[in-house]
């Protein structure tokens, strides 16, 4: 049993190690945002879209969402589509987000000319976005991201529990371990109770 758990503990660490370091590092950047470069730059350009040319001003929510995916494919926009918005002058706003980049497309129904604004964040905002990216929506790569996030989250819980088992099985003298584990567990449980009541 000990060898099996130790092997899984080790090998699963090798599989998700890079992800864990990424989350730890991006978490660290979020704890100290002033230590890292931030900033933002914005560019705007005009593009031509055959989909926009045939766009109707009246679209339901489902149709507008489907359209945002089609526009992304046509114009090679790689972010996760957000809910499209319609302005008072009938212009449609399609937004796409990925870590560090926000693409906003302004589409006037009937016109093939669309305006694309790209906002690029610096290092710290990109790391923050990467840390916050979650959910399964937005196409295959965002689905995979959501899946890996679940995998790493489950791995965190597994590492903790299997680590406790491995310590218990490996060490004959357990007093220090009990003090450390008991103290930290009491602190976490106490913190939850403090916030609960």
């Amino acid at each position: 049993m000990y060898r099996v758990i130790r092997t899984i503990h080790l090998y699963s660490g090798l599989i998700v190690g890079a992800y864990i370091i990424m989350y730890a590092f991006t978490g660290f950047v979020m704890l100290h945002p002033d230590w890292f470069p931030g900033g933002e730059e914005e560019t705007t350009r005009q593009l031509v879209s055959s989909i926009a040319k045939n766009l109707s001003a009246e679209l339901g929510q489902r149709e507008s969402r489907a359209l945002s995916y089609r526009l992304a494919r046509e114009l090679d926009l790689r972010g996760r589509p957000e809910d499209p918005k319609r302005e008072r002058d009938a212009t449609w706003i399609f937004s796409y987000r990925r870590p560090g980049t926000r693409e906003t497309l302004r589409v006037t129904p009937g016109s093939e000319k669309v305006v694309l604004t790209v906002q690029k964040g610096g290092f710290a905002p990109t790391m923050r976005n990467l840390h916050h990216l979650h959910g399964y929506e937005g196409g295959l790569r965002f689905f995979l991201w959501g899946f890996f996030l679940d995998l790493v989250s489950a791995a965190m819980i597994f590492f903790s529990l299997s680590g406790i088992y491995l310590w218990y099985a490996l060490k004959r003298e357990r007093r220090l371990g009990w003090i450390v584990l008991g103290g930290s567990t009491a602190y976490v449980a106490g913190s939850i109770l403090y916030l609960l009541f």
Binding site: F25, M156, S184
Partner: protein
């Protein structure tokens, strides 16, 4: 060398095990938008209205007078009438809507309890909590856990390297798992 590193790996991990479980559970909760069902309670309190130079300062003084902890968001601050201040106080697991009558000193509080999931999600990246010394201690625990996690992964790589029989399958897993993850992270950003 190995024994020292292994002991640090074990005891640091035991120290941070609680945070890692919170981190894992909260990440799953964020990924699937899991929430506890919220409950509301209302209560009233009479206070001596504090002196303050601005509405924001008054709201924060009101929070302190009620012995609450949490942030007072400026965008949820408003005057219902010239003598009635309405504000919110947010903290992991709970949010409060405060309505202060400055003439009478009466405060009506609507307390929304977001349950265990609200607390677990709030603890994910908490650095500090206004009007609560405990908040800073959790921020420190989080910081130590982040460093401990990085150390645990890197020392884990070292322990793997010390086991010749595990090197070949380990390389495959490392290349496919961690190598693939790095490429995927770059692909997501690109």
């Amino acid at each position: 060398m190995k024994k020292i590193l292994l002991d640090i790996h074990i005891y640091l991990s035991l120290f941070c095990a609680g945070y890692l479980v919170i981190y894992g559970l909260s990440s799953i909760a964020f990924n699937h938008d899991i929430r506890s069902s919220a409950t509301q309670v209302e209560w009233q309190r009479q206070i001596a209205v504090p002196e303050a130079a601005s509405d924001q300062a008054l709201a924060e003084a009101l929070r302190d007078a009620l012995d609450l902890s949490g942030w007072v968001p400026s965008w949820r601050l408003r005057r219902e009438e010239p003598h009635i201040l309405v504000c919110a106080v947010n903290r992991p697991g709970k949010s409060y809507r405060l309505r202060l009558d400055q003439n009478s000193g009466k405060v009506q509080v609507t307390e929304t309890r977001e349950g265990l999931w609200g607390i677990v999600k709030g603890l994910h990246g908490l650095r500090e909590l206004p009007n609560s010394p405990w908040g800073a201690s959790w921020g420190l625990y989080t910081e130590i856990s982040v460093w401990a996690l990085i150390f645990a992964v890197l020392s884990g790589f070292y322990f793997w390297w010390l086991r010749p029989a595990a090197r070949l399958p380990g390389w495959w897993l490392l290349l496919a798992g961690s190598g693939g993850s790095i490429l995927f992270i770059l692909y997501i950003i690109w």
